[in-house]
Symmetry: C2
Subunit: 148 residues, 2 copies
DNA sequence: CCCAATTACTTTGATAATCAAAGTATATAC
DNA sequence: GTATATACTTTGATTATCAAAGTAATTGGG
């Protein structure tokens, strides 16, 4: 029992750092070298589709709207995002991916998908289901306990 | 199959962001409010015991030694760490936790332990083993594939 | 033994991410 | 119609980070 706790603790810490570094290393290069991880994060969060407001997006990313403003400023400069005032409520700003932005989104998505596909290949089929169920439990529990 | 990949993808992204924010929110307060997450990370990595060198620690944290130097500067100022030249090789600097540093280390450790304990409580015993094995596989695979 | 190359660390100069608080414009409510 | 609330941006500050240059100690030929 205690044994398991220690293992899980250690492996989680390791996996965490490793995944962060992998993403950074393999994503921010090639076509999208000019993008930082935070910017990829913002792009991932805006997603394909109808456009989100600033506050919605800031809340989802758990950053202040001031921080998001400068992030979006840069992404607009770099041509990945555009702003558009909402017509129904002119205080609101809708942000939306340009075509270039959608390409970056897809790249990010593909990277994750490959990482997951490669990884699942390594573990037996029956463990796969358990892993996914366990992770969902973990997340549900976190949300409840820490009121995210 | 494809279904599983998508689920795992989404849940991993969510878990990641959530855990990062939880740590930040719950750790950097109270007695250790003056510590940032990066500083907690450094402390975690130095650990209890005989003292690590700068380069060892920088490598483990996957940051440059310049970055670590400023990190340690701050931790020394705040009283969590002290430096000591190695006597056998006077180029080397050994860093070691002060008593205050060890308290912070234990706090961090306890936080992780509780998080894991709480979480494992939520999943059935037989899934627990599978989860841990799966995560070890994932990490092993990452190291191989991405040459960490 | 000495000097060239290597290693270990620090410093410097630059950039990015972040926050809190103040500022601006629009909407809502009484 | 004004006061309050909401949505966003700006400002000023701090922290984390890197690459490259600098300093000091060690090591390995000759």
């Amino acid at each position: 029992m205690r044994e398991n706790h220690n293992s899980l603790n250690q492996i989680l810490v390791k996996l965490f750092n490793d995944i962060l570094k992998i993403e950074e290393k393999f994503l921010c290069r090639g076509e999208f070298k000019s993008l930082t991880m935070s910017e990829f994060h913002i792009i991932e969060n805006i997603g394909i589709g109808e456009g989100k407001t600033m506050s919605e997006t800031a809340k989802a990313l758990k950053i202040t709207s001031g921080t998001l403003t400068t992030g979006i400023d840069n992404l607009v400069k770099k041509g990945y995002v555009f702003r558009k005032r909402s017509t129904e409520d002119r205080r609101k700003v809708l942000i939306k991916l340009t075509e270039k932005g959608e390409n970056a989104y897809n790249e990010h998505y593909k990277f994750h998908e490959e990482m997951v596909a490669d990884t699942l290949q390594e573990i037996p089929k029956d463990e796969e289901e358990v892993l996914i169920r366990a992770l969902f439990n973990v997340d549900r529990y976190f949300k409840k306990k820490y009121k995210l």
